[in-house]
Symmetry: C2
């Protein structure tokens, strides 16, 4: 094939308009689901089962699974822990299967499941995933979780970082306005990323709830080379 | 009230998540519907009836209305003319009622009709509309038509120009990531707007169809001080 195409989808509400069954989908929810998933596998988790509803998560709890579940940043009462990547420590997750349900990030993993592949992206596994995507003969859609179907800045910036790297490889092109915008916003942010992330509404939401201890960590490049991939209904390391 | 809030909605697919019945909605479809609507009123049109479907437009044709209708840039066969603002000349539209249906812009005017007010925005009536918004005691949502439910650059840039002006007035604040992104993209574009608009996919689409003669015109500030507003099912000058 000629150059591959990369697109960015800013919200689950727009995914149907981007969806391309032949493409690889990279799901991004920097604060905090996909950062947490990468951390869990880096710390030895065996399998993560993303579920959409609280009811599904509760039913899986009754079947004995380890449950990570939150809504709007707060841990659900029946869950073993919530959505901070710092919860997914080796002593808790190594060798385990985790059922995971969050406000935005986990439901969209299933939305993308009809596509050629679903990968989990974050800054934490940035270079490993980008280098892998460059080697595949597939178009790529970076699918931002957003916030309750709305655009968010922190996922857009990470998407822009991925698009910039894919375009710089010479293997990709884009005719997607969202991808152009994401790269340009990343260009404004990258020289002082944490200062720019201060502008994001989710930054404020997490601070207001005292849940912002992981913000710096979630914006750290290349803590792991693991690429989580959806196989059937579960995520595994590639 | 304290400071008013301004938000930006990037796509009709996300509007439900932004909608606020107490807010004023500014619909923007720079290339070309809202630029054409402002032009039509500047040239003396009496009333514009936005309709969503081709069937509605055709039925109105049978009732004797002047019809402007296009899909994907092409004039529908039964229409009197299409979507270029250059069609809406005084000799054609002065004193007339026009039924108008386009790919993206006209259907969203109706989507917003339950809100406190629906105004039509473009660069062509920028200062008049922004100054009017600053004087109202209402929150504002800038509603980008986008392209087939996707994000587009040209509407986002115009939205960013409006948000910047509203924030600069001191009367508005925002906690909306889309508004922050739109202002920052506008900041990148404004010093050479036409060069930046070259990046937009719609720029390429219109050029490919030989429909790009109006691009410069549609990015010209303040050709008119008319503010089109939705009253019932029709647009009139405010």
């Amino acid at each position: 094939m000629g150059k591959k195409c990369v697109e960015v989808c800013f919200s689950p509400a727009m995914f149907e308009r981007h969806a391309n069954d032949e493409a690889l989908i990279v799901v991004i929810d920097v604060l905090r689901a996909t950062s947490a998933i990468c951390t869990a596998f880096a710390n030895g988790a065996r399998e993560i089962i993303p579920v959409t509803t609280i009811e599904e998560a509760r039913a899986m709890k009754d079947r004995g699974y380890l449950i990570a579940a939150e809504r709007d940043g707060f841990v659900l009462d029946f869950a073993d822990f919530g959505n901070s990547p710092f919860n997914f420590t080796g002593d808790k997750v190594s060798g385990r299967t985790i059922v995971y349900s969050t406000t935005n990030g986990t439901s969209i993993i299933r939305m993308a499941s009809s596509c050629a592949g679903v990968l989990i992206g974050s800054y934490l596994n940035f270079t490993a995933l980008a280098d892998w995507l460059i080697k595949q003969e597939r178009d790529v859609i970076i699918f931002c979780a957003g916030w309750k179907d709305r655009f968010n800045l922190e996922d857009t910036l990470c998407a822009g970082a991925f698009v910039e790297k894919l375009l710089d490889s010479g293997e990709f092109t884009t005719i997607c306005d969202s991808a152009v915008a994401a790269v340009d916003l990343w260009g404004l942010a990258k020289h002082d990323l944490m200062a720019y992330v201060e502008k994001a509404a989710q930054r404020t939401r997490l601070r207001d709830k005292g849940l912002d201890d992981c913000i710096d960590y979630c914006h750290t490049f290349d803590k792991t080379s693991i690429i989580p991939v959806l196989k059937g209904d579960s995520l595994f390391p590639l």
